[in-house]
């Protein structure tokens, strides 16, 4: 690339180093310039020059050696999601690079800012099928926000500055930088200038006041407005603006899976959680409201159900920073193309104070129905095996709803997001769009390092746990203080549930014969216990939570429990089933 023009911050500290340094050392200086002091990774042939220099910077950059590259990338995601900083992971070429792919795809669909650095074979060998050569730039093109292959040491500072800028700005996303081994060995005179703009890239659209006024007019005229909050609110740090908007307008608010914790779940306007296994009220009322205000969310099919029968009666106000999301799934009568914070601030100005108490009460009626039919027996069972809901409810109470809760994918995930009371922002870390089993354990370790002063709990099913179980080794080696609970039903529970409901109970390949998880955790020298009786649950949970450092707990739960409510695939949100 020879011609792309970049503007750099004029007053940015422009650092130059008198002596020539190697490309590897330059990478480390770039990380330090960007404020990165924790990285996750796994060494190998093509990235060895970098690791060799890293040895000299151990006091400045903490490297967490995962047990698999997938663990490193999920950890970087967990770190980023909880801290709002760019997560960084490093891998070697070939299999090291391809092992990152799942995490990169996950970060792309869930808008997580990460920078992945991969080693590559020396540039003269590119394209020759050299040992551990793979075209990772080609492979990762559709699942990265940006990627680039560096073949000369001199390119390193500018490309990495650009990588961090692109990863974190606008709608965040993953960036992959592939660096050939000769570029790592090569020398350069190091100068670092932070990238602050690119002429072909406008990360934050200018707020259009006319769009805001139009939206405000619709909202002001609404009888039954309903607000849906997505992760965009957290990404733009607009929690306070959201709260102020809700308090001025009295509009009920529901959250998407990734929007959870953007508003405290005990806020009076909060009416629940949306989607396939969301709460009854928010799903039903989506098809009864007259104005639907979507903030920083993208109308995923798990939210909309059958989109042809989704909120057809409502006028839609859609706030998003990404133009390609507007009208992608649901037509927006009043789009606001802007950062959520800017848009909400402006809306507060133009929206009149209103009161929707009666409308809000309609949600309470739904809540009561859901409580009677679903929640009561799940949360407070008196017989049978322990339920997932009572475990989560207890953890929520014991942590006062203030922990960072990391989940995997499946029934336990839906139960956790339904029953944990999220009181603080950036507390719900889960794989949303991609639905990546194996995400939780490594993401929880990343989250624990990204939020060192907060308790971090990883809730995992017995299936997903075994996809990245080796990261227990990382947790032990670095004494990462995560509390891990495996809700073991000896099934791939969500698939089994579908088999029961939609495939006439043919349990094809969903039964798990599991190992002794406690013995495995103990093998990794972790404090580990198991509980299978209700009378021991609270005491064991307390002990597990209070243990200093990492601790492990297996809970044997009801085997064939189903998650309800449920919007069956292809059904409308108003056809939500309670049993």
């Amino acid at each position: 690339m020879t011609t792309e023009k970049i503007a750099f911050e004029s007053q940015a500290a422009e650092r130059s180093y008198q002596q020539k340094i190697t490309g590897s050392e330059a990478i480390i200086h770039c990380l330090l310039e960007e404020g990165t002091h924790t990285i996750f990774g796994y060494p190998g042939g093509a990235i060895m020059p970098f690791y060799d220099k890293l040895y000299l910077f151990q006091d400045k950059v903490r490297h967490i050696l995962s047990r698999h590259e997938q663990g490193a990338v999920h950890a970087a995601q967990g770190y980023a999601r909880v801290s709002g900083e760019v997560g960084v992971c490093v891998a070697t070429s070939g299999p090291g690079a391809t092992n990152l792919i799942t995490g990169i795809a996950d970060a792309m669909i869930d808008s997580t800012p990460i920078v992945c650095i991969t080693g590559q074979v020396v540039s003269p060998l590119l394209g020759t099928d050299a040992f551990q050569e793979t075209d990772v730039v080609g492979i990762s093109a559709p699942i990265t926000k940006w990627n680039y292959q560096i073949t000369k040491a001199s390119e390193i500072p500018e490309v990495l500055a650009k990588a961090f800028y692109i990863a974190r700005s606008g709608r965040p996303g993953p960036v992959l930088i592939d660096i050939t081994k000769d570029a790592q060995f090569g020398e350069l005179t190091f100068e670092y200038r932070k990238c602050i703009s690119l002429r072909s890239y406008k990360p934050i659209p200018d707020l259009n006041r006319d769009q805001v006024k139009h939206a405000a007019a619709i909202i002001n005229a609404a009888k039954k407005p309903f607000l849906l909050v997505g992760q965009g609110v957290l990404l733009s740090n607009a929690q306070n603006e959201l709260k102020a908007f809700l308090e001025k307008t009295g509009i009920p608010v529901a959250s998407t899976l990734l929007g959870l914790s953007a508003i405290s779940t005990d806020h009076p306007n909060y009416v629940g959680y949306l989607g396939m296994h969301g709460n009854y009220g928010p799903n039903i009322k989506t098809n009864e409201c007259d104005v639907l205000i979507a903030v920083g969310m993208r109308f995923d099919d798990r939210i909309t159900g059958d989109v042809k029968r989704y909120a057809k009666q409502a006028k839609v106000v859609h706030i998003d920073i990404d133009k390609s999301e507007i009208n992608k799934i649901v037509y927006a009568h009043a789009p606001i193309l802007a950062d959520a914070k800017d848009a909400l601030n402006a809306l507060i100005e133009y929206c009149e104070p209103t009161n929707h108490a009666e409308w809000m009460d309609e949600f309470k009626v739904c809540d009561q129905i859901e409580f009677d039919k679903v929640i009561a027996k799940e949360m407070f069972p008196t017989e049978g095996k322990i339920t997932m809901a009572e475990v989560i409810h207890n953890i929520s109470e014991m942590t006062n709803g203030e922990a960072v809760v990391v989940t995997d994918v499946g029934q336990h995930q839906m139960v956790t997001t339904r029953y944990y009371t999220f009181k603080k922002p950036f507390s719900n870390i889960t794989s949303g769009g991609l639905g990546t089993m194996g995400f939780c354990l490594p993401a929880a370790m990343g989250a624990a390092l990204g939020a060192p002063h907060r308790p971090v709990i990883g809730v995992i099913g017995d299936g997903g746990f075994q996809m990245t179980i080796q990261e227990l080794g990382t947790i032990f080696q670095f004494q990462i203080p995560v509390k891990i609970v495996v809700l073991n039903n000896e099934f791939l529970g969500m698939v089994r549930q579908w088999q029961q409901l939609f495939f006439e109970k043919r349990y094809s390949a969903t039964e798990m014969t599991n190992p002794d998880f406690v013995a495995i955790a103990k093998g990794y020298h972790l404090y580990a216990q198991k509980v299978d009786k209700r009378e021991n649950l609270k005491a064991t949970l307390t002990d597990w939570l209070n243990h200093p450092g990492p601790s492990f707990l297996e809970v044997n739960v009801e085997q064939e429990e189903n998650v309800f409510p449920m919007v069956p695939s292809g059904a409308s949100v108003s056809e939500i089933r309670l049993e």
Partner: protein, 179 residues
């Protein structure tokens, strides 16, 4: 309703960007009917000219997703009547066959084609025009036996007076450094 659209995609010079761009069509199962790449009047800025058949709804979504790519400066979408466009075709025909008949002059005149090369074995005819026009000559030449035929992708200019330079200077304040 399926329509024919021509997209003008203005980009920075970046290896792999064409791959990312075509990937967006691939994901939506849209086939690319023709594609050309050239440098624009601004050095270092390239344009992909892509012809596709799809619906108005899809083309709008595709446009937004392409514009989201970091190095894409701007995407223009045009219907047939909004552009002046042209394609070029080359026809390799056996010299002997063609000279035997007396229609060569008539053919060249009728189609406003021209002869680029004459050799003892074959001659090469060039014709620019819309696809129907180059196809017409193809059909007329078929009886002589066409040895080889190639038609280029579409290039076009739009029917507005706004140019890229004014768009760039209006929207994209840029400065220094090259990457």
């Amino acid at each position: 309703m399926i329509h024919l659209f021509t997209l003008g995609i203005f980009t920075e010079d970046k290896i792999g960007l064409l791959n990312r761009t075509t990937g967006i069509f691939t994901r939506r199962n849209i086939s690319i009917e023709s594609l050309t790449v050239s440098e624009t009047e601004i050095g270092g800025v390239f344009r992909f000219n892509i012809k596709i058949k799809t619906t108005f709804e899809q083309v709008e979504k595709v446009k937004n997703q392409i514009e989201k790519l970091i190095e894409v400066i701007r995407v223009q979408v045009y219907e047939e009547h909004e552009t002046i466009y042209q394609e070029i075709a080359l026809y390799k025909v056996p010299t002997e066959e063609l000279l035997k008949s007396d229609s060569i002059e008539k053919l060249i005149r009728k189609h406003a084609a021209r002869i680029l090369y004459v050799g003892p074995e074959f001659l090469v005819i060039e014709k620019t025009g819309h696809k129907e026009e180059t196809q017409e000559l193809f059909l007329d030449l078929e009886e002589f036996g066409i040895i080889e035929f190639v038609r280029s992708g579409r290039i076009f200019v739009n029917k507005s007076t706004e140019n890229l330079i004014s768009y760039l200077s209006k929207n994209l304040e840029s400065s220094t450094t090259l990457l």
